[in-house]
Structures are given as structure tokens and as C-alpha cells.
């Protein structure tokens, strides 16, 4: 198999923002165990700004590293800005991924979108 970049290895062995947030404002979960990848993302959002984010991941080295990287990329951003983060940006921030692992970066982007969708749903619920 084609090797991982040093950045991927760093984020795999020292993942940033691992864990859960008990009173999260948003939770997103994507992937499925059948394919061997699940990402769960927790966000604390204040005035539309992501003030904290944590993740749990079942998956390979690239799945863990992309989870870790995407949390770094979106922390402190507004939800609208976070929605702009693409899978390519995640992969580039990790100095690239082996071609066969590119789907892991899709998962990272989807996890963010799924969490923000959850946040918006909850917000709309409160307004009603």
C-alpha cells in the first residue's frame, strides 16, 4: 500500500479533539460499520461560532487523521464557514492521502455537514 504522509501519521498517533461533548449543541454521525468507517462529531456552538468540537472514529489511520484534521480546520469558525470546508482541503492539510483513502476525507466533510444539519434542525425547533 502507498504510505501515509508524516502529517497523517502525526494526526493518527496524536489525534486532536478526541472524545465527546456531553451537552453538545450538535451531533453528526456518518459512515457505517459495514464499510469499516464511522465518524461521530460533537459540536458546541455559540452565536453561530463553533467554540468546541470533538470526535469519535471507528476506522483506519486515514479515517482517524482526517477526523482530527477537520476538527482543527473548523474550530473557531462560523457554521457557514465550516460548511465551506471541502474534502480536498482536509486531504491537502494532511499533505495528501493515498488515492484509495480519499473516501475517508469525504467522510470528514460529511460529518461536519451532518452535525451542522443537526444544529439547524434543533435551532428551527426552538424557534417554533
Amino acid at each position: 500500500m502507498e504510505g501515509y504522509s508524516e502529517k497523517v501519521m502525526d494526526h493518527f498517533f496524536n489525534p486532536r479533539n478526541v472524545g465527546t461533548i456531553e451537552d453538545a449543541d450538535a451531533i453528526g454521525e456518518v459512515g457505517n460499520a459495514k464499510c469499516g468507517d464511522i465518524m461521530k462529531m460533537y459540536m458546541k456552538i455559540k452565536d453561530d461560532i463553533i467554540v468546541d468540537v470533538k470526535f469519535q472514529t471507528f476506522g483506519c489511520g486515514a479515517a482517524v487523521a482526517t477526523s482530527s484534521m477537520v476538527t482543527e480546520l473548523i474550530k473557531g469558525k462560523t457554521v457557514d464557514e465550516a460548511l465551506e470546508v471541502t474534502n480536498t482541503e482536509v486531504a491537502e492539510a494532511l499533505d495528501g492521502l493515498p488515492p484509495i483513502k480519499m473516501h475517508c476525507s469525504n467522510l470528514a466533510e460529511s460529518a461536519v455537514k451532518s452535525a451542522i444539519e443537526d444544529y439547524r434542525k434543533k435551532q428551527n425547533g426552538e424557534k417554533k
Partner: protein
């Protein structure tokens, strides 16, 4: 990282220095083409004959039943396609299992495109076929049964003697992919009534790029590689003399003292399996606890994924393998783990450790210290465990 503990001997093994020593002259001064008439050619011919005798002796075959190939994959391809195309007038039905190596599975799938029918026998939960299923699958137009001797992932050993008895009685050819078995368990092709057997040099401390197909005398098989008249017109191409000398020496060494070697490997294997199950909750042994290769450990740790385990083990100097999708280069985990009935998410968390005679009890102790914290760390990161 101070040391390397190599536990992937089912993938490949280290070349035995004694094997290398015998090969070296044929990579330097003794470069003659074995088909040439002059003395340096004759030297190469002599070396080939001696190697052929050694392989024959190790399998209880006769020398002209031994054909050298480029490896196990070529031997499997040749056995199956060669028998299929030579006997298609008799019938176009082949029986194999759903846990074969891809060298057999993909060859059978290829033949299906050319009008052959293939029955893929299932295996029981322990990874072993049910002889009743084989009996039920046999047809009047069955020309070949191909069942692996021992599985490369979960190490289970198939009832080869029973299969040989059934196929011989019915006059159906029996091929076995013995790539993982040779050098690990004693094999007698006469006693087991095997018609064709594939093996590969680098699985028993021989060189890569050389293998053997044993073809019992009288078997109707077509050549697959066409060209010169090498290997009695059955497998063309200038012989890989150094490789063949190497596989001859390697099989001689690997089949010597096999019982003693097995005892040591079985001890290491069972100590590892017991230790892992005791120390790590939600650990499952894959395959049969007893009818398995002496050096094969294959377990699943629930809630985590195999490639992550391998990366962390590599940091600790341990070379191992997994049947997870990410290590197989596809989206599905190993077909063998699915065939024994594991759900996808558990199959993704498999770890295979395969021992060699060079491994020690100290290595096992190191594993039992190293693996539990790795599993614990990955489980802490896993969203699956919190759902339980």
C-alpha cells in the same frame, strides 16, 4: 524503535542463510543455461535435477511429477485452467470453496466466463468444509475439485485425506493449494490421494519467484506457458536455476524435524491466543482452535479497525497483518472472515499473527504487553463501544 518482531510469516518468510549459500553460485559463476550441451550448462541441469529430487522426496512424489513455476499463483492458475481446458469434453463443472486464495477464486471466476460452472462450497463457523456438502455437490460432469490444504488467513486445515478418498473413487481430479501448508505440516501426496498440489518457495524460508506444481503421472493437463521445451514440454521458459536450487534446499530444511518445529510453534500460538483472550474483553478467535496451522493466530477485537491496530503495532516494532477492508484495498473485509459468518464490523477488526521458528516466548510476552493498551486506546476513540 529498538527491535523488530516479524509476525507475518504467512505473507512471506526470511530466506534461510543456508538456502542463500546454495543459491549464490548459480547467481554468479554457474550461469549456464540448463538446456545447453557444454559443461556449465550441464552443471545447471544437474542442479535442477537435484532440486527436483528434493521436492519430490518432501512430498513423497516421484521426480518427474514435479514442475517448477514462478510461484504459487502460477501453479494454481496452471492446475485449474490446465485441467479445465484439457478435460472440458468430459465435463465443465468444478468444485472449490469460498475461502480459497484469490489465485484459485479468481481463476475459477475467469473459467465461469468460458462456460465452466463452479460450485463454491461454504465453510462451517470454524472455517472447515462439511464433507456432506462436497458429496452433494459432486456431479457426473465434475472434472476437478480444488480445496486448499490450509487457509492463509485463519490457518484452518481442511479434511484433505477424506476429499482425496472421495475424488479418487469417482475418478475426479483433486487439486490442493498447499502454499501455506508445505513446511508446516507433513504432506504425503500418495497417502492423501492428491493429484495436483501447488506450493511456493518463499513461504518456507526459500526465495521468492519460484514455486512448484506437483502433477501426478497420467493426469490430463494442458500447458499454460508456451515456448521452449523446458519442464518436459509442460512449462516453457529458461529455468530460474538459482531459485529452483533455493526451493529445493528450503523444502529439504523445512520438512526436516517438522514435528519438533510444530510443537514449538503450537506452544507460541496457543500462549498468544490464550493470553489475548484473557487480557482483552470482546476478543474472538477466528478459525478452529485445533485444526489450524501451528503458527497461525487470527483474532478479532470488537469495536476497532484492523489497519489502525497494524499502524500502532508497527510503531512498537511488530509486523502483522489484518483482513480489514483498508488493508485489502477494497471496501469489503476479507472474504474468508465473512465466509465464517462474521458480521462486517467485526471482520474489520481482525489481526493475524503468524509465527516462525525464530520467534520466542519473549516475543509472545512482548505481544501480550503491547497489544492490550493499543486495543484499549483505539476503543476509547471508537463510537461503536459507547453504543454497547
Amino acid at each position: 524503535m529498538s527491535k523488530t518482531i516479524y509476525l507475518d510469516n504467512a505473507a512471506t518468510t526470511k530466506l534461510n542463510p543456508k538456502v542463500l549459500e546454495e543459491m549464490i553460485p548459480y547467481l554468479s559463476d554457474m550461469y549456464g543455461n540448463a538446456s545447453s550441451i557444454y559443461h556449465i550448462g550441464r552443471e545447471s541441469r544437474k542442479a535442477l535435477d537435484l532440486a527436483r529430487d528434493k521436492v519430490a522426496k518432501a512430498l513423497n512424489a516421484i521426480s518427474n511429477e514435479i514442475f517448477f513455476t514462478s510461484g504459487g499463483t502460477e501453479a494454481d492458475n496452471w492446475a485449474i485452467k490446465g485441467v479445465a481446458f484439457a478435460n472440458e469434453k468430459k465435463g465443465k463443472h468444478i468444485i472449490t470453496t469460498n475461502i480459497e486464495h484469490h489465485a484459485v477464486l479468481h481463476t475459477c471466476q475467469y473459467l465461469e466466463k468460458y462456460g465452466f460452472e463452479v460450485t463454491y462450497l461454504p465453510v462451517k463457523e470454524n472455517g472447515i468444509i462439511d464433507i456432506k456438502d462436497l458429496n452433494n455437490a459432486l456431479r457426473n460432469d465434475t472434472i476437478l475439485v480444488s480445496v486448499m490444504f490450509a487457509n492463509n488467513e485463519i490457518g484452518t486445515i481442511q479434511p484433505i485425506k477424506e476429499i482425496g478418498k472421495i475424488t479418487r473413487e469417482r475418478g475426479i481430479y483433486f487439486h490442493t493449494d498447499a502454499v501455506q501448508a508445505v513446511g508446516n505440516i507433513p504432506i504425503d501426496v500418495e497417502d492423501l490421494k492428491i493429484d495436483l498440489l501447488s506450493l511456493s518457495g518463499h513461504k518456507f524460508n526459500g526465495p521468492k519467484g519460484v514455486g512448484v506444481l506437483y502433477i501426478k503421472r497420467g493426469i490430463n493437463i494442458l500447458p499454460m506457458i508456451h515456448g521452449g521445451g523446458q519442464e518436459r514440454n509442460k512449462r516453457a521458459g529458461t529455468e530460474n536455476v538459482a531459485g529452483i536450487v533455493g526451493i529445493g534446499k528450503a523444502i529439504e530444511l523445512a520438512t526436516k524435524d517438522i514435528e519438533k518445529k510444530n510443537k514449538k510453534l503450537t506452544d507460541l500460538r496457543d500462549m498468544t491466543i490464550k493470553g489475548l483472550i484473557e487480557r482483552i474483553p470482546d476478543t474472538i478467535l477466528n478459525g478452529d482452535p485445533e485444526k489450524r496451522l501451528p503458527g497461525n493466530v487470527n483474532v478479532c477485537f470488537k469495536y476497532i479497525e484492523g489497519e489502525s491496530i497494524l499502524l500502532m503495532l508497527d510503531m512498537k516494532g511488530v509486523c502483522a497483518s489484518s483482513g480489514s477492508a483498508c488493508t485489502s484495498g477494497s471496501l469489503d473485509p476479507s472474504h474468508v472472515l465473512l465466509a465464517i459468518g462474521l458480521p462486517h464490523e467485526i471482520a474489520h477488526g481482525s489481526l493475524r499473527l503468524t509465527f516462525s521458528i525464530e520467534n520466542t516466548k519473549k516475543d509472545v510476552e512482548y505481544l501480550l504487553e503491547t497489544i492490550p493498551p493499543i486495543v484499549e486506546r483505539l476503543r476509547q476513540m471508537s463510537p461503536l463501544i459507547s453504543k454497547q
